[in-house]
Symmetry: C2
Subunit: 329 residues, 2 copies
Amino acid sequence: MSVTLKDVATAAGLSIRSVRRALENTSGLSPASRRRVLAVADELGYVPNIAARNLRMRKTPFVGLISSNHGIDVLVRRRFDLIDKLEKRGFNPLISNPPENAAEVAALMRRWSGITAAVVWLSQPDPATLEQLAGFPQKFILVDSDFSGPNCCSLTVDRAPGITAAIETLILSGRRRIIRCGNIVTRESGFRQAFRNLGELAPPPLGVIPTDESDFEAGYAAAPGIVASGADAVFFDVDRLAHGFLRYAYEHRIAVPQDIAVIGFDDDSFSRYCCPALSSVAHPLGELNGRIVELIENGIPGHTSIRFATEFVERASSAVNPAVRPDQP
Amino acid sequence: MSVTLKDVATAAGLSIRSVRRALENTSGLSPASRRRVLAVADELGYVPNIAARNLRMRKTPFVGLISSNHGIDVLVRRRFDLIDKLEKRGFNPLISNPPENAAEVAALMRRWSGITAAVVWLSQPDPATLEQLAGFPQKFILVDSDFSGPNCCSLTVDRAPGITAAIETLILSGRRRIIRCGNIVTRESGFRQAFRNLGELAPPPLGVIPTDESDFEAGYAAAPGIVASGADAVFFDVDRLAHGFLRYAYEHRIAVPQDIAVIGFDDDSFSRYCCPALSSVAHPLGELNGRIVELIENGIPGHTSIRFATEFVERASSAVNPAVRPDQP
DNA sequence: CTGAAAGCGCTTACAG
DNA sequence: CTGAAAGCGCTTACAG
């Protein structure tokens, strides 16, 4: 079916070795032979089989990427950016949805063995499946799951710094009744720590309005409770919740930020564009991915953990004086 | 470094062939030998090298996916859905950003040769690079670029049907001054054809407000012109333009759909959630991707073209009576 | 019940 | 200037 070196050699009446001398343009081949080989290779449409080359060379340009498939904006952007960076450095990303249990993890690593030397977990694996990673030939980079292992390097993003900056901004702009809405553990601890960090400065938070989900609908459904609480500022665990609240505010003529300041988390791409534009806490996507590529290039150390921080992005939904910060695109 | 069959055989004091009999659990091996092999394999952590297996078996589970990396919602969702469907059928997607010229196309196909048998172009290749595809060992599936070749099968989505349904709905609900905004060729022809299809029914369109880009900012910038035109309905070439217009309407107290009905194209995920929810024309993502996977499974025919249609999704931004269709999530 | 050997398509040290 | 051969790690027809 596909044309091999041997095919070219036979057609050119030379050995495989000489065909390679021609194709590689190395010395030790008569100009006539060289011309003949190149003509034949071109005519037959010879394309080297990279799988065979990789096997022989005992190396591989493929990097496994495990990442959840749903379209959560920040995850999509993180993944896209990583693919881009990997390709720019000559790596080929191989994609998989997250395996759901230990058996699926094993199946995937077997399917990829000999093909990927490094695997990046952009999604968080089931903790029960982590121990077994040590048994696979690959090296692993774990994003946001703090696990140590002989062939695991974990990169973690501290949620607290960006949340602290967000709360601080609210307080400095005179907000006194700050409530949180959502159900995500890292946000809860970040939120708490923000108030702890601010010490004297901070009035006690109003508490939390829990949600079942972290989506638009849940934010919309939580809105009446938030309004009823008398809060003058609300921090949502994710931007999608905040978007649901903004819809409710729009429908009920609640002015944001005049009546209530709104801040989200994740810095979804739409948050720049919604009405009003949504303040949010952003992940250090570029920095994180840059480090991942570096690790893949230079070797992945085991038993290592690297930390990153989030950052507050202020927009109209939490502006002190919206007239001064017009809600322009 | 990594453990091979030979390592296991040596450690178990048996031949490679017998090791395989144990691992495959096939007949012709004494229970004692079998137990010994399994124990040794487990202890050494043997994992078969799939690259070597694929080479020997002359087949590959890898499918190349060429897709642009920017976060345009509909493209992201299309790609995610395809990866999901491929994995469910046992294929491994290999990702690449679009090559920019003939040399890059060649480089990529060489890098993937012997590794992928099928390559799906989710992005549209530079037409100048299409001819050379015939020279590569892979089979190609081209989405939305109507090109015929011995190893190319193209799948195309007709934009017109969904646009026609959208315009028809506007007219039947009494809109008479319909304008288009955007700069995309397939939308222009779809828009024209909609009016042609509707014949007597349709008043002449108001014309078009062209944009340079197809993003939120461009939609926001085009808004004053649209309002000045006196249109009572506007069709945007992409949802992002419509989102920009909605922001302008929100800021200038223009009621949508009471003052002006708004329809977009692409059915971005946020369009269900914006204020008001945006009517749009949707791509047949699931159907298209289902067909792609089928082709990969059953063999990709050359010189073939398959067509699909878009569909109108009605929401509050073009509702006849918004009170009857409340703008709920 | 068990093993030696060919071959997938490539790379490269070695020999002439 | 040129080629025979080993070996990457696997699968499998064949032989004993």
